[in-house]
């Protein structure tokens, strides 16, 4: 990975808040009783409920969720936010600083910058959404197969993911997108999916391996349940949490990735309006006193990336019972 938008090594950080008092109340013999096999589905449901209750008490989680909902509503229903057409431009009114008439000012080509910022949400968020879906799909399937079946399938998929990880996404993206010629949402999302899936595959594989060795899975297997059934009913529900965390963070990273690729000239192109395109068009004027052209779209974009990353962090903390 060569780009800034990356899942940090901190993804696995566990902050140990426990003190060094010896287990003050529990004896091992009693612990074993509470982790029986019969109550597995209920325990799973309560894990998510606990996580949800925990999240509601975290201010960062609430604020980022609200921010994300705002941005998603811009992407889905831009007309809720503005009645101005972002492509209704008057070149005579180019680069007007923010005023009461144009609260974000006007763009390089004289469009209302606020309307552009609203309509710019959709392509940015779509790229992130499709990219993440692709990553989760490819990485999830490969991770489950590798983790569940092990052996040569595992070895092969590990090697494959190492090969893909050996190609920094920025460089691979530039090479592919230059040649494809089409600079569509789909092209960018697929490049992201093809180059980033090892991150999810690795995590999925690890969680599947640990879930596979649980007693109730061994029990189901000895009762003759089919592989498909074991994977769908027993392993996936228990292995999916870490993937959700990574996917949330990836959503944010991909919003930034779209902008970076666009900045390098291989991403979305005008007349499409995305935050990346807006920032890219602002480039040449930023140094000559039109910093607002950069600040507005970049602010929305950074807020979105930040919100997804913080939400992902919060979900991880909430799902990790060790922290509670």
């Amino acid at each position: 990975m060569s780009d800034s938008h990356n899942v940090t090594p901190e993804a696995t950080e566990v902050e140990n808040n426990s003190t060094s008092v010896e287990d003050s109340t529990t004896s091992p013999s009693l612990k074993a009783d509470t982790a029986g096999q019969g109550d597995k589905p209920r325990r799973n449901a309560s894990l998510w409920m606990d996580a949800f209750h925990d999240l509601r008490r975290r201010p960062t989680a609430i604020i980022s969720t609200l921010y994300i909902l705002l941005m998603v509503s811009m992407a889905a229903f831009p007309w809720l936010w503005t009645r101005t057409d972002p492509r209704d431009c008057d070149i005579g009114e180019a680069r007007l600083h923010p005023s009461s008439e144009h609260i974000f000012g006007t763009s390089v080509t004289g469009c209302d910058y606020y309307a552009q910022a609203i309509y710019g949400a959709r392509p940015s968020i779509l790229v992130a959404l499709f990219g993440t879906l692709g990553v989760v799909l490819i990485g999830g399937v490969f991770g489950v197969l590798a983790g569940y079946f092990g052996g040569w399938i595992d070895a092969l998929l590990i090697r494959l993911s190492e090969i893909v990880a050996g190609l920094p996404f920025l460089l691979g993206g530039v090479a592919f997108l230059t040649l494809v010629g089409t600079h569509s949402v789909w092209a960018i999302a697929s490049v992201l999916a093809v180059l980033i899936w090892p991150q999810v595959a690795r995590i999925m594989r690890a969680s599947v391996i640990s879930a596979k060795n649980m007693d109730y899975v061994q029990a189901a297997r000895s009762l003759g349940a089919s592989n498909t059934r074991i994977i769908l009913r027993h392993i996936l529900p228990n292995a999916v949490a870490p993937t959700i965390v990574v996917a949330t963070i990836l959503l944010g990273s991909f919003v930034g990735a779209e902008a970076t690729l666009t900045f390098l000239g291989v991403g979305l192109q005008p007349p499409t309006v995305s935050w990346g395109v807006m920032i890219n068009q602002a480039q040449n004027f930023v140094l000559t006193g039109y910093a607002y052209l950069l600040i507005f779209p970049a602010g929305l974009l950074v807020g979105t990336v930040l919100s997804f990353i913080l939400l992902g962090d919060a979900v991880r903390d909430a799902l990790d019972p060790k922290l509670r």
Binding site: E22, S24, T25
Partner: protein
């Protein structure tokens, strides 16, 4: 990093005629988010040369914390020694400045930990970690330190010491690692050795070897040994005296044979009855019902009362002191006379 020579600096005035080690009314608490956990509540005992004192208790009884308080290695925060004295040769270690205390650690009082794999630094050779004792405390040269490290490995009967001195902890087997741990503790010929569950992590056969080695080295060097364990079986063979701890208190202290013959506290009695014995074959094994109290909220009265088989109303209201059974024994039970008689 400069290696300073400890001998050159001013030393503490120890009284060679004073008792080797006395712990008096030791109090340790951990201040956590969930409240203050009183891990050690007034522990008192003493240790003399060549003697083995076993401190017995289940996890959470405060036995390891007591050992750490003697060594002065409690994580602070959250841990704080809030009262009492730890006197080595008449000098209270708890009031010594950190620098002087540090020089006692390892040199006069040394400690062996339970899990040698995690207690040894994985990235340094065994020789480096042994030699460090001489280099830091005595200012020995590297070459000399290594020679001494080899001697130490031979002392604890590790074969091919000359080669193994250059190996890393993970290359040793569990038993061999614990021998390295013992060698490290013995490097500077300490007067007091604290062994915190030294054999818990080992196979049963290896356990016996390690305990044998410890006992042998202790005899040779006339050290005082504090053996911390939850295993009554280990205790019987090697200990001279036993202090049984429960919820941060000593609930019974006695010479080892007296305790096995006639426990004077219901907790000790229950512990003894929970050991599987050949002559009780076919009978149901007794277990102690319930859990020890949360250290953040120790009830008034006797802390063992909720689990006690002979509990009376008084036990819930009045905390028993450590009654003197005879000059060598004590029991923190209001009804010790009845317990001992049964």
């Amino acid at each position: 990093m400069t290696v300073e020579t400890e001998a050159k600096k001013g030393a503490v005035a120890f009284d060679p005629n004073a008792p080797l080690l006395e712990v008096e009314d030791l109090q340790v608490e951990f201040r956590t988010r969930d409240g203050v956990a009183k891990a050690v509540n007034g522990v008192t005992f003493s240790l003399s040369e060549g003697e083995t004192l076993a401190i017995l208790g289940e996890s959470g009884s405060g036995k390891s914390v007591t050992a750490q308080a003697i060594m002065g290695i409690i994580d602070s925060p959250p841990g704080f020694v809030t009262g009492g004295q730890v006197r080595y040769r008449g000098v209270d270690l708890l009031t010594l400045p950190e620098e002087q205390r540090r020089r006692i650690r390892g040199a006069k009082i040394a400690m062996i930990f339970q899990d040698a794999l995690s207690a040894l630094n994985p990235v340094f050779t065994v020789g480096f970690q042994l030699g460090e004792m001489y280099r830091i405390h005595r200012g020995t040269s590297r070459a000399e330190a290594k020679r001494r490290a080899i001697e130490l490995l031979e002392l604890v009967k590790i074969p091919a010491a000359r080669q193994r001195v250059n190996e890393y902890p993970h290359q040793f087997s569990g038993g061999m690692r614990q021998r390295v741990m013992i060698a490290m503790a013995l490097a500077l010929d300490p007067d007091v050795l604290i062994a915190d569950e030294p054999t818990t992590a080992l196979d049963v056969t290896v356990q016996a070897q390690i305990m044998g080695l410890l006992a042998e080295l202790q005899r040779e060097r006339n050290m005082g040994l504090i053996l911390i364990t939850h295993d009554m079986g280990v205790v019987a063979d090697v200990a001279d005296r036993i202090s049984v701890m429960y919820a941060g208190r000593v609930v019974e202290r006695a010479p080892v044979h007296d305790i096995y013959a006639s426990p004077a506290h219901p907790y000790t009695k229950a512990l003894l009855e929970s050991i599987p014995r050949v002559d009780h074959k076919g009978k149901r094994l007794n277990v102690i019902k319930g859990l020890p109290p949360a250290l953040t909220n120790i009830p008034p009265g006797c802390p063992f009362a909720p689990r006690c088989a002979v509990v009376q109303q008084r036990c819930h209201e009045e905390r028993p002191p450590l009654y003197e059974v005879n000059s060598e024994r004590g029991s923190a039970c209001h009804y010790w006379e009845e317990v001992i008689a049964r």
